[in-house]
């Protein structure tokens, strides 16, 4: 970070190569699989790093810090989107969603299930099962106690299991 503050392009490239892909993946999943939007977010996040590297606390782990920024950016986007939906479009009725879920395959069903999770649950789920961060790191990113993170993960697993149980046979075929 100090090197970036001094204007080292090599340091920026190193940081980008180390975290760029995982952050882009996080943004893509969080932002409804919109890759161009995710790339914009990634760009903005690195701009924040360039413009104010002094905000980084050297006592913290860099990945935790950078994911905290990413999480806050997504939170803002969800809030904006929520307001837009409330103003412009009718609320998605649960029955419609169920009908939609019945029609899709197991893979698409999981995609939809992840998409409709709220921002915080989705962050916790993705950081744990895709980016494989520790419970402690996740707790610091989302600013929740570790116990809360664990129970959220457990109930998310239960929720997904219940939703996916209808596709038991499909899952068995895939796992074989």
């Amino acid at each position: 970070m100090q090197k970036i503050h001094q204007g080292s392009e090599a340091a920026l490239t190193e940081l980008y190569q180390r975290y760029g892909t995982s952050l882009l993946r996080y943004f893509t999943r969080m932002l409804w699989n919109d890759k161009s939007m995710a790339e914009d977010f990634l760009h903005d996040l690195f701009l924040k790093i360039i413009h104010s590297p002094q905000q980084f606390d050297v006592n913290r782990k860099f990945s935790t810090w950078v994911y905290s920024i990413a999480h806050n950016m997504c939170k803002n986007e969800y809030r904006k989107r929520e307001n837009r939906i409330l103003l412009n479009t009718p609320t998605l009725v649960k029955q419609d969603l169920d009908r939609e879920l019945d029609l899709v395959s197991a893979n698409d069903r999981l995609t939809l299930l992840l998409e409709i999770l709220n921002e915080e649950d989705k962050t916790i789920f993705l950081l744990r099962y895709e980016d494989e961060l520790t419970i402690q790191q996740i707790s610091r990113i989302v600013l929740l106690p570790e116990g809360t993170v664990k129970s959220r993960l457990f109930y998310l697993r239960k929720h997904l299991a219940a939703e996916l149980s209808q596709f038991k046979n499909v899952l068995k075929e895939r796992s074989l």
Partner: protein, 186 residues
């Protein structure tokens, strides 16, 4: 969820991913039953975990485009340049600019705030050219210089005074004098 369960959540996850219900040892089975109520529930959780892992694999997110990095590098370069300009890698230019700035500031402060309006100075000047006397003065003082003649007496130069013998009283005389003073007689 009690504390013990919270602390063992990672262990539960590891078992869920690694072992089916039938593969669990009696101790693990006992442990797992703190979390789930039945074999079916355990298997459902395990299946969903596998399904999620598969989903992540079949829906990968590729690395970001190089354009993003290129854009960021350009921004960093600009940022660096602006810092150089701001903090002065070339001190001469920096000093010159500072001197110019302060010179200009000094000149600006030295300037009067607005052009002063010249106020007309009004002076009362009394010019007396003629004195009119309305009454006749009863007394007129006229200053006049009076010259008086008087003779100058010629004086002879004073004779120098003869220095008298001012010899003092000797010890013998003084003794006799004292006696005389005390007794009043010789």
């Amino acid at each position: 969820m009690n504390d013990m369960k919270e602390n063992d959540f990672e262990k539960f996850e590891a078992l869920l991913q690694g072992k089916s219900y039938g593969e669990l040892t009696p101790a693990e089975w006992k442990f797992v039953n703190q979390w789930v109520e039945s074999e079916e529930e355990y298997q459902a959780l395990r299946s969903s975990a596998q399904q999620t892992a598969t989903w992540f694999k079949v829906n990968p997110v590729s690395a970001p485009r190089n354009e993003v990095l290129a854009k960021l590098r350009r921004t960093l370069k600009k940022e660096k340049h602006s810092r150089v300009v701001a903090f002065g890698v070339k001190p001469i230019w920096g000093y010159a600019a500072t001197a110019l700035l302060f010179g200009g500031l000094g000149w600006w402060i030295g300037q009067p705030a607005s052009t002063p309006v010249q106020k007309p100075i009004v002076e009362q000047v009394l010019v007396r050219d003629t004195v009119y006397m309305t009454v006749k003065p009863d007394t007129i003082f006229v200053e006049r210089v009076v010259y008086r003649e008087h003779g100058i007496l010629a004086k002879s130069p004073a004779k120098p005074e003869v220095q008298k013998d001012i010899r003092g009283v000797s010890m013998k005389e003084k003794e006799e004098l004292d006696k005389l003073l005390v007794s009043g007689t010789e």
